[in-house]
Amino acid sequence: MAECHPVGFRWVMEAKRRGATIIHVDPRFSRTSAVADLHVPIRAGSDIVFLGALVRHVIESERYFREYVVEYTNAPAIVDRRFRDTEDLDGLFSGWDPERRSYDNESWQYEGQAVPPAARDSETFTGEAHSERATQTGHSHRDPTLQDPRCVFQILRRHFARYTPEMVQDACGVSPEAFGRVADALCDNSGRERTSAFCYAVGWTQHSVGVQYIRTAAILQLLLGNIGRPGGGIMALRGHASIQGSTDIPTLYNLLPGYLPMPKAPMDGSFEEYVATHGATGGWWANFPKYAVSFLRAWWGEAATGENGWCFDHLPRLTGDHSHMTTVAEMAEGKVRGYFVMGENPTVGSMNGALHRTALRKLDWLVVRDFRPTETAEFWRDAPEIARGEVRTEDIDTEVFFFPCAAHTEKAGTFTNTQRLLQWRERAIDPPGDCRSELQFMHALALRMKKLYAESSEMKDRPIQDLVWDYPTHGPHDEPVAEAVVAEISGYRMEDRAPVSGFSELADDGSTACGCWIYSGSYAGGVNQAARRRPRTEQSWVAPEWGWAWPANRRILYNRASADPEGRPWSDRKAYVWWDEEAGAWTGHDVPDFIQGRAPWYRPPEGATGVDLISGTDPFVMQADGKAWLYAPTGILDGPLPTHYEPRESVMENPLYGQQCNPARMEWHRADNPYHRAVDDPRFPYLITTYRLTEHHTAGAMSRWLSWLSELQPEMFCEVSPELARERGLTHGGWATITTARAEIEARVMVTARMTPLRVRRRVVHTIGLPYHWASQGLVRGDSTNELIPFVADPTVSIQESKALTGTIAPGRRSRAGARR
């Protein structure tokens, strides 16, 4: 975190100043480890064992927050008797379909009750169960004593029973002592009086089981009662300055703004079907139609009417997986003709650079918007295969358009940070030369397209014709007024365009428009809430008047859980939000995350519908059952509980199950994406992990062109332990060549004790550490790490596995030809 979120890390240091204990679990000793109280070196790819063992420790030593667990989580819920655990099936859950290489999650459901996932992804939820659902929240079959062998709690216990400290030693290379210190620190600092927080980023996510890493942490935090309470939580330290914003208002193929699902063929034929599939008659998502209709009205305005299903048919339908790597693989098959690359440098940042360039060569046209021609824009004249003479520029037909872009300081707008906080940014200076903002580019493009299709009478062109595009502009280049976009996203009343105060005002009758329901209220009262800058010294410690956080300016989600079932704070020390009896309202330091005025002892009456179904003790309102999920009956494709699987390419066998890797992982079997043997490939005996350096930014176009940053880390290097250096004859400051089946790259050698050989299962695992910031352009140049890494991905969110793979290293520079193995 110190390496990659130094500004956020200031608060960690502030906490440390005040006596907090900082623990860093990471294969390498980084800048974060340097200031942590305890650094635990762990084998890359083994964290689920480590976290699972913590779960086991918390359960077996009875350190869990019982009242919280019983009342606020699905621990008591009874699970369908057809369910089988990985313990029973040696690494598989029930419902595995070997042909489709995926799970049917029917047997994972609660007894007699099917629920949809909070994120409305219907791929994992079959509509049938609807009728059963939503007659109530909570669970029809539950055991508050947590004794029933089929209750979630007992299933969880059995699931992690073999995740012992000894197993941690075997799988992670972490000594039982070190594990013990972490376990004690965590437990001692959790409960009524104290809370602990987890911070993670891509060291946890970039695995073929990435999602389950986070799930394990979530289970742990729920057992300890650290969710929805001050000082608790799981902080996803996001990436690019507004990557959170680009998930809320998504650049993701399967989501619409506010996590509304992209309609899919065939089940989302009509708007009614769409609402039926993804909405709910009970629980928070009973509001689904309000958000969906307001969204469609924002896009197609008056053209969207009840008769035409609010122009629902203007939206395309998903026919399958269009995630990044899948799309690129299809591009390499010639199935994609045009490609917009805006704010990305995929031939360097994404896996298997060579495969990426192969795909680009198959395009008719490529648009790149960046500061200056990146490796992606230059792929046709500057690439390893061209240097090797395998590809000739003259043979590449792709037409490349390059547009210089404005930097974040050169345009106004918001960043949405890790904490869901929208912060407004003024334009500091004008962009140089022809550089333009994305807003300006998109605006100009939209106007041209509308002009282009104005005369068309074809149905397929209606979405463009009907699109509301009335943003005011300013300046010599007709820069759209960014506030106007915020206002649209925040929402307004159709008749007078008066801003709504929040999503509670949104309606399903078309009287309101809102670009993104979770951002509703960010322009409440016609005020740009994100631009608020009241110093923390002039307001409460929660600082509600600095920027604006979604939803409804809440700084901590599910904060109803910071109070006990009766609505009293769990402790004075950790008081945050509570029930005020006189006022008959929820109050506290933050905006309460609960239905206002709903008393703790409220229980849904017979026949209640919609949000009335949410009881006074259901803090997790977005979940259909109002409870936090220790066990996920749906929503996750590779299992209801996290299970340790080895990376696709591993240095050891799975110590826990016969099933070596995640059975549901995504793979791309093609000649230009070769894989190593899953275990102990003799050619590739070492573990490779990759990471960032504070001095550079990701694929490097923002830092490799800047002298002030380039001089700080001028050359691509690899980090190895003195032991590995001895074993392979590597000399500090000299050159080394790192090789996988995909490619070979060269790097300077940094021999450092910060890299640690780990003893797992009576053998030693050596790790090669590789930053991935260099490539062939810029002030400082070097080989690109991602030439080495294959396409492999997690099934649920299709994130690549770039944190753990195998390879080998040898002294000296690579063959100038750079021939592939």
């Binding site: 110190a2 100043r17 800048r31 340097a34 002298s707 050359e715 400051g733 450092t752 004790a753 050989p757």
Partner: protein
Amino acid sequence: MSPPARGDGDGAKGFFTDTTVCIGCKACETACKQWNQLPDDGMAFAGMSYDNTGELGASTWRHVAFVETATEGLGEDAGRDGLAWLFSSDVCKHCERAGCLENCPTGAIVRTEFGGVYVQPDVCNGCGYCIVGCPFGVIDRRDEDGRAWKCTLCYDRTKDGQEPACAKACPTDSIQYGDVEELKARAQERLATLHERGATETYLYGAGEDGQPGTGGLNAFFLLAAEPERYNLPPDPVAPARKAGQAWAAAGIAGLATAAAMLGAVLTRGRGR
């Protein structure tokens, strides 16, 4: 003219750099280069941990040192218990007795109203005498230019009531800018806390005349966690002018003795061919 200008007393401003909260992000080094529009020092892999700029110099006025301390028993699964990675952001110390200033024959180096030691570029004649006058190897001559350059204590910012760029950029307040006397008090507090928590190896470097008599104390002082040598700081630096008296005396005596010898030679020359 003499005694040379001193920085202490009323309202001298300076830095307290608490290296125990430094995360080695180099924001200070970069912010300094940006504010002062300084060029890079070349793009070479130095192999000095994560430090590739090496030292303070004519075009690097803030420099972050990366110290990897040796560990006992390196060896397979020996663990890395002794391992520590220390960061420290070094800068011109704006000494109370500034060797550079005292050595400068042209008066190019002056003491500003903020107690900072400032080189006036339009007066400097590039004689280079300040460079060997600095006990910390801070000030240096820019090759393409011939004049001496170093940290200005952001005179151009502090004049406008802004804090120096490096301190402004530091995310963890490892660099604290302010009134030297006040900073010293704060540093003592911090040190006490650290010692309470068992970090007894920590100490203040250059805080006040008592802390560093040779320089009369530093307006930019440090809280360190290992021997000064590890950070490339001298253990007991001194402004050389403090010994000049002895040298002048020796020169004087030698001069008189030689003159006497000359007289002797003249008087005993004898007569005739």
